[in-house]
Amino acid sequence: MKVLVIIPAYNEEKSILKTVNSLEKIKLKGHTLDYIIINDGSTDKTKEVCEMNQLNLIDLPFNLGIGGAVQTGYKYAYYNNYDVAIQFDGDGQHDGSYINNLVTEIKSGNNIVIGSRFVSELSEFKSTKIRRIGISFLSWLIKVVTGKKIYDPTSGFRAADKKIIQLFANDYPIDYPEPDTIVTVIKKGYQVAEIPVKMNKRENGKSSINPMKSIYYMIKVSLAIIIAGASSKKGSE
């Protein structure tokens, strides 16, 4: 199978090279593994660093937001006929050694596989108590809307199969897209799985969600989940 790692990058000049180097060491048995960086209008030297080291770079003309950047990757995967697409942060948070597990789960028939911080004891991911409460609230809301428990709906470490690549290439939310796309996918009747992964503390750069914005984020994402639940119902029939 052809596997593509999509790396959205916004101001990741310090970590992008390290991220790509760690990916290039990974070997998948019987699969090809490519990567593509989507530079989302970074204001630092992300673009220059990528060009200097001849990394595979799609350079967006201006900042679209994380959803717009990730969707660019899905479009590229769709046009180039990839079988699996994996979202992978450019800031060193995600551990490439789990890519194998994600691909295995896709191969065994799941349409989308989430690398989850909370599905087992493996994860030592330290997040603030408030953030944990926020995530478990979103998890509860998704359970209410879809009937399925997703432990880590905000995880940006995910693998998608060919059908989902096509779905996301055509329609993807612009900002904070993870939780509501999961609802859409479940509502359309696709198979969603979660596997435990370890996530590192981000090495450089800040989270796209700062504390000031977190209340706004919660309200917006909750609304997005409810809307995704209401609008996907018709499409699945």
Binding site: I58, D59, L60, L64, G68, Q71, Y76
Partner: protein, 112 residues
């Protein structure tokens, strides 16, 4: 209504129509939206010329004074226009996003 005021108000409406018209000619305004503002100024002219017309509407729906009715109507129309504008902006944002993505992918494919 005093004649002076009627003349001034109609002059305003006329100037506004000219302004809209010039913008259409300069391609700053598409006809769809020009139409909206032209209807707006025609309605204003009618209201100035035949104020009794408004009084009849007020009486029939139970609003005490014409000025209250005007404020209510004006406020409602402005809210509606604002809503339509946010809708237009949303659609355009989606289109611009798609354009940016396609251009970036094409550029990458070309340079590869």
């Amino acid at each position: 209504m005093p004649l002076k005021l009627v003349v001034v108000l109609i002059l305003f409406a006329l100037l506004f129509v000219i302004y809209v018209w010039r913008n259409v000619l300069k391609r700053n305004l598409i006809i769809k939206y020009a139409l909206l503002w032209l209807i707006f100024s025609i309605a204003m002219t009618i209201a100035v010329l035949i104020p009794d017309f408004l009084k009849i509407i007020c009486n029939s729906i139970g609003i005490a004074t014409v000025s209250n009715f005007i404020f209510f109507l004006g406020f409602g129309i402005l809210l509606f226009i604002t809503f339509v504008l946010t809708e237009v902006v949303s659609i355009q944002k989606a289109k611009i996003t798609t354009l940016a993505q396609e251009v970036a992918i094409l550029k990458y494919e070309k340079d590869k």
